[in-house]
Symmetry: C2
Subunit: 134 residues, 2 copies
DNA sequence: ATAGCCTCCGTACCATGATACGGAGTCAAG
DNA sequence: CTTGACTCCGTATCATGGTACGGAGGCTAT
């Protein structure tokens, strides 16, 4: 079931321009243009592998990997380089732990602020001190 | 204890250019140049209030607020607009909840991947499926 | 066989949050 | 009273991750 670039984009929940952007960055392959009726060849077709890669890219971004790191991960997958893959995963897990803790702290602080600012028209609502660790 | 811009930057853990950038964005006040000996006035001086604002900016960024939102928060603090402050805080808390859940899911997936890729030179290490929900 | 939509590709532009540069002015120490 | 560090300010540049434009060509249905 070959897909046009628009269908691939749709399957991945991104725009066509984003696919092309990923191709420029080496994240998605540029398949050969098939021999078509015209002079410059036909329209490129994409397969399930491309959809899979595209979905991986989106998930890896949510995990906080940069596009450059994602490009590396895709290479590692092809080369089956487990050592480096583990390295990257472990490093990201550490970073995620830190980030999660940071966000949780921020959430707590904001909860305190919202609470304080909810009580009547006066009383304390010290936005500037919202993140001051007491 | 008035500070030069370099000292203010240092106190906030940012660069001088970042302070100027924040000033352009309305996040940090530009104090008047004092009457100096020269033609164009003296060097601007900053106070503890500026340090406090600067620290707030950094923390609010960690909480995921954009600089534009932070600018608004600073205005709200000055105006004591509790309703809007609460609104922004509550919205951010919701977004943080989502983000935290997303990062936690990513962390779990990466943990699985690292585990799988650790076992010997062969066996599965399917990077591309790392985030595939089974 | 032609209209209308899609593809291809290069290039330009965007938002966010900085970071750098350079010339003129200021200031403090020796 | 000069030297060296710092300030001021406008403007330029950067990194990241896209998004848009436009002309030439390909594809498909009528």
């Amino acid at each position: 079931m070959p897909l046009t670039i628009a269908k691939l984009a749709e399957a991945g929940g991104v725009g066509v321009e984003t696919i092309r952007f990923y191709q420029r960055r080496g994240l998605i392959d540029v398949p050969p243009r098939p021999e078509g009726s015209g002079l410059s060849g036909g329209v490129r077709r994409y397969g399930d592998g491309d959809v899979r890669r595209l979905r991986f890219i989106r998930s890896a971004q949510k995990a906080g990997f940069t596009l450059e790191e994602i490009a590396e991960l895709l290479r590692l997958d092809a080369e089956n380089d487990r050592r480096r893959a583990r390295q990257l995963a472990d490093a990201r897990i550490l970073a995620l732990d830190q980030k999660i803790a940071e966000l949780q702290a921020a959430k707590t602080a904001l909860g305190r602020l919202a609470q304080a600012c909810a009580h009547g028209p006066d009383g304390p609502c010290p936005i500037l001190d919202a993140f001051t660790t007491e």
